[in-house]
């Protein structure tokens, strides 16, 4: 993925997530959703480093991971609208999306639930001798789940080709990482399993891309799992309608200064990879893409309720 595509993807995600927040406020979509505003560089930097055969697992906050991996905004939006054209024909909703055909093995409503699943993907890859690496996104909150520890141990013992990518956005819902993790650096967990690890600035697209590429190489070459921590900040609320009483507006304002898109744009301009006019055009294009996605979703038919009980078994 070249740098301009990376920029385009980050913008798509940002606009998509803003639209989601708005659509909820306007009552046009229901259920729940967790947006990833401020975390776009993690999703896109990672996707840029992945190879087509690789597999990704995601979390409840998965729109960005999915879009970066190649999801169509229209079908993703249609899933949020509960339409027949959605990725899972309305059966999944925001927290449960999957498209194995592009190596996206699922958002998951259970915090930490996909961690062992990712190791299973890696085990399958190893047993079948493919060159696939499984990459597992999880949050700082999920790091407190026991299955994370079990899975690190398993992956290390079996030297599986898996990259554990902790998106440390400082919060698990209202709980700061310092109140949910006795030791603040998730990457340090790797040492007690003899796993390689690194920490990087998750708001720096280039740093993410590079570190993920290195981690994937490590895993792909048979050196076993890699634990990578990307430090970022969730600028959105935890889920739609979160009043964010647990943190100060000042903290958020400061975090906005470090948000990844403006930062990446400054880089593009400084490196003369884009002009102001280019960026303006790209912003407009991203906006249009999302408007189209919404239109596609809203004009799509509802799923067929008569067949709702079908498809539980093959």
């Amino acid at each position: 993925m070249d740098l301009l595509t990376c920029h385009e993807q980050m913008l798509t995600i940002r606009r998509f997530e803003e639209a989601v927040e708005r659509l909820f406020r306007e009552g046009r979509i229901g259920g729940t959703a967790h947006t990833c505003i401020g975390q776009e560089a993690v999703a896109v930097g990672t996707a840029a480093a992945l190879q087509p055969q690789d597999a990704v697992t995601s979390t409840h906050r998965g729109h960005g991971h999915f879009l970066a991996r190649g999801a169509e905004p229209g079908r993703l939006m249609a899933e949020l609208f509960g339409r027949a054209t959605g990725y899972l024909r309305g059966r999944g909703g925001s927290q449960m999306m999957m498209d194995a055909s592009i190596g996206f093995y699922g958002a998951n409503g259970i915090t930490g639930g996909s961690i062992p699943f990712a190791v299973g993907l890696a085990l399958d890859a190893k047993l079948r001798g493919t060159k696939r690496v499984a990459l597992c996104f999880f949050g700082d909150g999920a790091a407190s789940q026991g299955v994370f520890h079990e899975t690190l141990n398993l992956a290390a013992l079996w030297k599986l080709p898996v990259v554990f990518l902790c998106e440390n956005n400082g919060y698990a819902m209202s709980t700061t990482a310092s109140r949910s993790l006795a030791h603040p650096h998730v990457a340090d967990r790797a040492t007690v399993y003899g796993i390689a690890s690194a920490q990087t600035d998750g708001n720096d697209l280039l740093a993410v891309r590079q570190t993920v590429a290195d981690a994937l190489d490590h895993a792909r070459c048979g050196h076993g799992p890699f634990l990578l921590e990307c430090r970022t900040y969730r600028l959105s609320g935890h889920s739609r309608g979160d009043p964010r009483e647990y943190r100060a507006r000042d903290e958020e304002t400061a975090a906005w200064q470090r948000e990844p898109i403006a930062r990446f744009e400054a880089y593009l301009l400084a490196q003369k990879l884009a002009t102001d006019a280019d960026l303006t055009a790209r912003h407009a294009a991203a906006k249009a893409r999302i408007e189209q996605a919404i239109q596609f979703a809203e004009e799509s038919p509802l799923p067929d309720a008569a067949s709702v009980a079908q498809g539980v078994f093959a």
Partner: protein, 323 residues
Amino acid sequence: MRTVTYTQILRETLADALRRDPRVFLMGEDIGTYGGAFGVTRGLLQEFGPERVRDTPISEPAFVGAAIGAAAAGSRPVVEIMFMDFIALAADQLINMAAKLRYVYGVSCPLVVRTPIGGGRGYGATHSQSLERLFTGVPGLQIVAPATVSDASALLQTALAGADPVIFLEHKLLYPLREELPEGLPPALPFGRARVVCEGRRATIVAWSGMVPQAERAAELLAAEGIQAEVLDLRTLVPLDTETLVASARKTGRVLVVEEGPRTGGFAAEVACRIFEAAHDSLDAPIRRLAAPDCPLPAARNLEAACLPNAESIATEVRALVR
């Protein structure tokens, strides 16, 4: 008199227990500043402090297990599991430890696990389940599912004063429910007493938790057609008030059991069995069960609605039953 919501009375009941009994403490994810995903504990941190209103990391097995240990030592922990779907993570601790403590080890375990159940909000397949069926078949666990504001408090008080583990189910759609109540808390209610929501002679509708308001509305629809249905609210699944169920079945001769979860392997089967085992000869028609189809609950509103029993589908079943 005052108007109180289900959420509010739960909060008041917890606050009352925290005030009166120093052994009581609360534990769960984001129950402090955030007040819990559904706001039940909002404000309690401010009054009781972080030692007694304890935010936990996302470690359901550990904090449920810790609550069991604390309860065995004499504390009275009240744990919140944010959505009942997540209780599966702590199933081992509840089934293999909490449920065994008194019978095997001879030790009290005054633990209350509060958790929201049910669909209707488009949250999807892992945030909408009614998983009481995981525990109704595990001796040693009591399963409580209040459907009204006053019962929510009355049964929570009993849970808080008890000596054995309670899984306390709060249907998400019940939280905004309002009731006119006197100041203070309603009196506590013993477990194992079903509530006769309304009387009728033509058929009995048995429901619990979020299905009770639907059953009530169904009874209104039916009454308008001249069909007088009796509605029973189980209130507690374990222990189950077989007596009241059987008495009503004997009276009406026709019974519908309504369950929000999928049909197969649900608790409605137990309810139906209890009734026919005791009142087989008084039944004028086979007991019916109305439940969700045997599939996960989809997120899309129209699909979700197609799965969940409601006043209309309950009324339809009763019409067929009395025909």
